[in-house]
């Protein structure tokens, strides 16, 4: 009986850890889609960029993990900012279809670039010794790296929440989300704000790509493989809602993990069925507002 | 039904709350057959909300709406149109990518029951085309027939906005600021149009242009803060001190 309970706890823990990585990768997309109303299918490409930068810095240039990850995040942000001011700026006024087309094109370019630079096989980001292995918590053996992931993702969530709710920049951003034209009228530099927000969103994705590489292996088609779950998280959570993205990530992580544990035969179906039902009941997501 | 007279459109104790804010407060409106009834009031008085409630775009918090004596409170917006209740919008709500003739062919085909036919010409048949031509002729739109809405001048779009409603041959027509945004010199165009509407059609209109209201309306309701302040004939309203205070007041106190 107690072993069954221990398994359940382990599965729950895995669900939470899986959800937190999804959160880390998705939260940037939720913010940028909420603020700029751009259907950005290239978002996972930024997560991949973060992963490959970390790989290049650690495995190829022998930098320590703790230095490589922040540098990779900054690098992803810079690439994001440049792209926002160029190709993304072209599609702000366009229809959703134009945005879909442009961002798919951008994804293709990213995949081809990753393939040309790093080859088509999987690259491993070496995790530092201190983060390997597991700790014993009662009957449970919890992997240290997953605990670390949960902690980082939770810290990021708290940071974003604080920045949005408690700072001047956050207030400006929320104003811009509500009404970009109005925000421009009251002296907010919307262009800079958007570029900055986009860069930050890409930065979080890059962090997710770098830290999550153990669960989402790094290869050129990363940018397309994990697009579906990320889009699901963002739309179930509701665009622009941090709370929603967190809730959706955890919910989907748990549904997926529990579904696979208790219903191994229908493992792949459960999550999509759940998503379908949630979106039918709440088309704007758990915490989203109608546009 | 023992009503000596039923109204073309009637609201009974109509209320609408958005959260804690009550935007429509127990409005009893009675629109007679063939009416020319103006709804006036300052900005934010709840005039457009009232139109939205009548046409089914909002659900009332309480109260009832009757069309020609029958309760339509829970009837869908689309069905109310079938019952003869049609509106226009303060902000042009047109089929921008289509031509003027197509903009009119859609409601005409809908009225004539041809809009589900999946073959044949888009104009349906001769009956639809003839009706579209007649409408455009009446509104002097024939020259613009093949222009897309996006290529029209603002005033011309305003005409199409009303023409779409007319194409449905409504029994009750709700016009939300038909002359909104039209330069003073050109509002005569709209007035001409309004004066040529069939007598049997009951018309409710929201308007800020007082010249237009006083020339065209026979009865006026004054809305203030979501409630009807007073209702009466043009002369009664013109003379009423409360209306002057509330609505025209500021000018007198300056």
């Amino acid at each position: 009986m107690s072993s069954m309970f221990a398994s359940l706890l382990t599965v729950l823990f895995d669900g939470v850890a899986f959800g937190m990585i999804l959160f880390l990768i998705s939260v940037g997309l939720s913010i940028t889609m909420g603020v700029m109303r751009v259907v950005n299918l290239a978002h996972c490409g930024f997560a991949m960029t973060g992963g490959y930068l970390t790989y290049a810095l650690t495995a190829q240039m022998d930098l320590p993990f703790a230095a490589a990850v922040p540098l990779a995040v900054l690098g992803t942000m810079a690439i994001g900012a440049v792209l926002e001011r160029t190709v993304y700026a072209w599609v702000y006024g366009q229809s959703e279809l134009g945005q879909v087309l442009m961002t798919i094109g951008l994804t293709f370019v990213m995949i081809a670039a990753a393939n040309a630079l790093f080859g088509s096989s999987i690259q491993n980001i070496p995790v530092p010794q201190g983060l390997r292995g597991s700790v014993q918590a009662g009957p449970l053996a919890l992997p240290v790296y997953r605990l670390f992931l949960i902690a980082v993702a939770a810290a990021c969530g708290a940071l974003i929440w604080f920045a949005l709710e408690r700072t001047e920049a956050g207030a400006r951003l929320r104003a811009a989300v509500d009404n970009a034209r109005m925000a421009g009228c009251i002296g907010i530099n919307v262009k800079t704000l958007f570029a900055l927000t986009f860069a930050v969103g890409c930065g979080f994705a890059g962090l997710g790509g770098a830290l999550g590489a153990d669960i989402f292996p790094l290869e050129p088609f990363y940018a397309l493989h994990y697009l579906v779950p990320v889009l699901i998280v963002v739309s179930v959570g509701g665009l622009g809602s941090i709370k929603g993205t967190l809730a959706a990530s955890l919910l989907l992580g748990l549904i997926d993990t529990l579904g696979r544990y208790y219903l191994p035969a229908g493992g792949g179906i459960v999550i999509y069925l759940a998503t379908l039902l949630m979106l039918l009941v709440r088309p704007h997501g758990l915490f989203g507002r109608p546009a | 039904m023992n009503y000596a007279m039923n109204y073309a459109l009637e609201t009974r104790g109509l209320c609408k709350r958005f959260g804690a804010i009550e935007v429509t407060k127990s409005v009893d409106l009675k629109i007679e057959h063939g009416a020319r009834h103006a709804l006036i009031g300052p900005n934010g008085a709840g005039k457009t909300t009232l139109v939205n409630l009548c046409t089914g775009m909002f659900k009332p918090s309480s109260g009832a709406i009757l069309l020609n004596g029958s309760d339509i409170t829970s009837v869908s917006a689309q069905r109310r149109v079938g019952g003869g209740l049609v509106r226009t919008f303060q902000i042009n709500t047109l089929f921008n990518g289509l031509t003027v003739a197509e903009n009119l062919a859609i409601p005409v085909a809908q009225r004539l029951g041809r809009s589900w036919k999946p073959w044949g010409r888009s104009s349906g048949d001769a009956a639809v085309a003839a009706d579209v031509v007649r409408l455009m002729d009446e509104l002097n739109l024939l020259a613009l027939a093949s222009k897309k809405i996006a290529d029209l001048a603002y005033g011309q779009r305003r005409l199409v906005e009303i023409a779409i409603a007319m194409a449905l041959e409504p029994k009750v027509l709700l016009l939300d600021e038909p002359a909104a945004g039209i330069p003073n010199g050109e509002s005569g165009m709209i007035l001409d149009l309004l004066e040529r509407l069939p007598d049997a059609m009951s018309i409710v209109f929201i308007e800020h242009d007082m010249n237009l209201v006083f020339r065209f309306a026979r009865r006026i309701s004054v809305l203030v803060e979501g409630a009807v302040l007073i209702e009466g004939s043009v002369d009664e309203i013109r003379k009423d001190q409360r209306v002057r205070d509330v609505y025209l007041g500021r000018r007198h106190h300056d």
Partner: protein, 330 residues
């Protein structure tokens, strides 16, 4: 009043896609290709299948304004149904085609009924989720779909009992061309009809359409189901021509691909599919010959530039050029 409506109205007022010299062009091109490129007919037949698929998408997306990332669901269901029909019911090809269309049409009807109450991003996501869900179902339901191995050994009988499906793809090509012609006639008739006009009305302004008294949801469901039916025909045709059905017919990626191809040609223009799809598929085929490792880079770059310089697709580019020329002469 005794007006002769048609003489009073200029032709452009209620535009009817009149048949002109331009309408013969694609068909002549297809027939010339049959003789001139007789060793490319397998590729040609697959292009024709995708053009049918693209036309079906154009009906939903371009004319009814239904934004979807899930049209592969219908293509895939049609392919599986036609494949299953061929293996277990009858190898006669036309019946299989109809079975594919009907199966997809039913899925379109049901999913449309549920999904088409939403719009915008929610609709994009829901259509995508339906596709991945069906993909998972096909993967799990091995007894019918063959799971990840798909259906193989699909062997259609000779067409009309006479024309054997040959190695050169001659029968397949002409069969696909014939089906494309019929599908084109259906789509062309529907979008030009009063029903088609009401669909364009919904696309242009859903709110006003409600307040003209039109049953928007029903119309969208009808258009979506018809579009699904035609996509199912395309899927079934593909299954018969390639003699296999596999999970890749039912992927989110295929939905994306067909969307890209259609947008390149131009959405809501009837001939967009005829331009974008052959162009894209020929480009891919050539790229695969020249340098397959890097084709994605150039395709991606082309897409970005297309969005920048020809937002409405290639046909819109042509339209703009003509309009500019017109203004120049005035």
């Amino acid at each position: 009043m005794n007006l002769q409506p048609r003489t009073l109205l200029p032709a452009a007022a209620l535009p009817h896609y009149r048949l002109g010299a331009m309408d013969v062009l694609p068909w002549i091109a297809a027939i010339v290709a049959f003789f001139a490129f007789d060793t490319y007919l397998s590729l040609g037949a697959q292009i024709l299948v995708m053009v049918i698929f693209g036309l079906s998408l154009d009906l939903a997306l371009g004319f009814a304004g239904i934004n979807t990332l899930g049209h592969a669901a219908f293509f895939g269901v049609g392919a599986y149904a036609a494949g299953y029909w061929n293996l277990h019911v009858s190898p006669e090809p036309l019946g299989g085609l109809l079975a594919g269309g009907m199966a997809a049409g039913v899925v379109g009807l049901l999913s449309g009924w549920l999904l088409l109450r939403t719009h915008g991003l929610a609709l994009l996501m829901l259509t995508m989720v339906v596709t991945v869900l069906l993909h998972e179902v096909a993967n799990a339901w091995g007894s019918v779909t063959g799971g990840a191995d798909g259906l193989s050994g699909v062997m259609p009988d000779p067409l009309f009992g006479v024309f054997q499906f040959d190695l050169f793809g001659k029968t397949a090509y002409l069969y696909a061309l014939g089906v494309l012609f019929l599908v084109f006639l259906v789509v062309r008739t529907v979008v030009n009809s009063p029903f088609g006009l009401s669909l364009r009305g919904i696309r242009e302004n859903t709110r006003r359409m409600h307040l003209v008294g039109a049953s928007v949801h029903l119309r969208l469901v009808a258009a979506y189901a018809l579009s699904a039916f035609l996509a199912g025909i395309a899927g079934g045709l593909g299954a018969q021509i390639t003699r296999t059905v596999s999970l890749d017919r039912l992927t989110f990626q295929l939905s994306g691909d067909i969307l890209i191809m259609l947008i390149i040609g131009g959405v809501g223009r009837l001939y967009g599919a005829f331009i974008g799809i052959p162009l894209y598929m020929l480009m891919l085929d050539r790229a695969a010959e020249v340098n397959p490792f890097h084709w994605m880079f150039f395709v991606g770059l082309a897409l970005i530039l297309l969005v920048r310089f020809a937002p409405g697709g290639l046909m819109a580019l042509d339209e703009r050029r003509r309009r500019a020329a017109q203004e120049g002469t005035q």
